[in-house]
Symmetry: C2
Subunit: 407 residues, 2 copies
């Protein structure tokens, strides 16, 4: 009898406190996963209360990433036991949150980065939005935030883009950056699954990452601080992955390097560069031309651009394409033997970002660029990948099925 009571008592005693929200979480969990009454995310319930205030647009040349936002935003609230409320498009404006909201304390937050492009016919296109939605749901699940119906959020983003259509800048290289974000909004300091959440999508017009030809970056190979680890959250786009990388980045900046090359383990495996996936194109030890990026072992972000580059390169079939680990020792050896062809980071913001130098343990590795190109610092493959992906994003070339989606 005593034993039978114990667990229940313990759960009850613990449920109310920071360290042990067992009972509470169990309740949330059961309502979330076992109740059939909770409302799914339903785009058909959208309410549009768009802003009557039309802010002035900026000149394309004045656009700065993530600084200016469109007139409206898309918001959708979620509550445990109830599910997703009516989605709403309303005037862009402040969020009003209790200071006890768990997003401020325990980092219940995840996001996506994607872009809307205007094609030459004036149509609006998204690039592989299904990949973003899949990852968004995966990130949310990793931090016990609710999941949603992928297709419905894509539809809602399409509606949002219709309302704020004038904010999508025209011209190759220009786009409307979209930031779908999910936060936990429970108003209680108990450390457990959040009983409330909010999806919001905001939009910021952006220009090309490299407005006048590529500028290659210098990297500081960093091993004293570690971006991600197996069993951690490196493969999820959660907020907690980002703030800890700023101090090392500032330290790198002070020494004249723009980004960190994140290493892992005693053998200094190359993982990511800044907030981008990392690619090396080299002649490997077997003498084959090979494009390599680290495999998705749980600590690497499954980038949409990363996946697209791998797909395109495999489709081209001109060189070997590998997802596998490689170390700084591999790079140093390849450099000594003159086998590195080029190297770049990859992500939504830049598509590709050429690398020209890596400092590792006080010594520089110089990465080749295209010496025949006097106006732009990038290797030939880097430029080819950039053009190929951009062609598809802007609808100039028909890409693989489902990559460029007219909304």
């Amino acid at each position: 009898m005593f034993v039978q009571r114990t667990l229940r008592q313990a759960v009850k005693a613990h449920s109310a406190f920071t360290s042990s929200p067992a009972a509470y979480s169990a309740k949330v969990l059961s309502s979330r996963f076992y109740s059939t009454a909770v409302a799914p995310l339903d785009a058909s319930k959208l309410e549009i209360n768009a802003s009557k205030n039309k802010k002035p647009l900026q000149e394309n040349s004045q656009l700065v990433f993530g600084k200016t936002f469109s007139d409206n935003m898309l918001t959708i609230e979620w509550e445990a036991g109830k599910g997703w409320a009516k989605p709403e498009i309303k005037e862009y404006g402040k969020l009003h949150l209790d200071p006890s909201a768990v997003v401020f304390h325990y980092s219940f937050e995840c996001f996506e980065g994607m872009k809307a492009y205007k094609d030459k016919n004036g149509k609006t296109r998204l690039f592989r939005p299904d990949m973003n939605m899949k990852r968004f749901n995966k990130s949310a699940a990793r931090i016990a935030l609710p999941n949603f119906e992928d297709e419905e959020l894509i539809k809602l983003i399409g509606e949002f883009l219709k309302v704020d259509d004038r904010w999508i800048p025209k011209g190759r290289g220009y786009s409307l950056y979209l930031r779908p974000t999910m936060i936990g909004t429970q108003e209680s300091l108990g450390v457990g699954a959040s009983n409330k959440a909010l999806i919001f999508v905001i939009a910021s017009p952006v220009g090309p990452y490299f407005p006048s030809g590529f500028n290659a970056v210098n990297l500081l190979a960093t091993s004293d601080k570690v971006r991600a680890w197996p069993g951690g959250t490196g493969d999820a786009k959660v907020g907690g992955n980002y703030a800890p990388c700023i101090k090392p980045q500032l330290d790198a900046n002070k020494e004249g390097y723009q980004q960190n090359l994140w290493l892992f383990g005693a053998d200094h495996q190359v993982t990511e560069v800044g907030t981008m996936n990392c690619f090396v194109f080299w002649k490997n030890e077997q003498g084959e031309r090979e494009l390599v990026t680290p495999d998705l072992d749980g600590s690497i972000l499954p980038g949409v651009t990363r996946d697209s580059i791998l797909s395109l390169a495999r489709q081209w079939g001109e060189f070997k394409v590998s997802e596998r680990k490689f170390t700084m020792a591999d790079l140093v050896k390849a450099d000594k033997e003159g086998r590195i062809i080029e190297m770049f980071g990859a992500g939504t913001a830049c598509i590709v970002c050429p690398i020209k130098k890596i400092n590792f343990e006080g010594k520089d590795i110089n990465i080749p660029l295209d010496p025949s190109d006097k106006t732009s610092q990038a290797g030939k493959l880097t430029k080819r990948i950039n053009d190929a992906i951009m062609d598809i994003q802007y609808g100039d070339v028909e890409g693989p099925k489902g990559w460029s989606v007219v909304v």
Copy 2:
């Protein structure tokens, strides 16, 4: 000439974008660290605009951790190049933040947990607030948030406690839980140091963790998910450490365990339990009675309770006290040989939380409690530590200098 231009150009090109806020960060950095004009945190500038609305207090028996908050809150804004603004005590209420505020995206957030106690003379006491302030500053620096003057924030918390004095519950085991929090509030999606920040302190009255005698917890030893890693943020109290632990906790709950015992490495080192530090009291392999907790290797939170337990136990001088790594194999062997005396977690919420069972790879390790105690599940040392710390916190016993501070 080209080479000279390159870095500047690259920095400029990168500064505006998600992946590379080099120039921007350098500007923030220099204004923060090299300008002498920035204002320090100054408690003498406090403005008190306390709420005229006095919310009803709850009965002591009704108190739930982190659910109800006092009438007011303390807030202090910071801006790069300007420093700390006037602190303000004002009515507890919502924070109004732009959806682009970096706290929602990149987890610029850190916090402390501390308590205010009413002693038998009606005076208000804090327990080792200098330790909390030191750690708060260390956490902030780890995620490139600004630092502040420790003593000034302690003074401000003292003023806050005077204004909300009626919210400090009386009685042993009761206290006003304080949650100092710092968030980055920059309104821009660039991934760099936040150019604005906010400290807020909120307060929630709480009762004893174990209202009617200790309830020992069952733990699931967890190695597929990892709480912290060398080079990560395990030794800082940043939000990003918490949300990723909820899913594993829910999984443990489903199997009937209240908490995770977080392991690390191929040799399954014991690190923390739930959100608490972990202690084992055993007869070690040399036959000595020894209290052990993992050493602060960068992945362990430097708990105030942890430090207090070590100090007290060393002062008692009755058994060996060690900060060192130990593994699940060590625990399994000690269990087989009947050498485990007791085991507990330690943290501000509970002081100590006894452990009675650990499931590791499908097998249970039963941890002894005090068999002579029919009303409470805890070992003798666990109970002694709890009483000793509580005696000091409530001013009933004079502790080491600076531990119990009347404000």
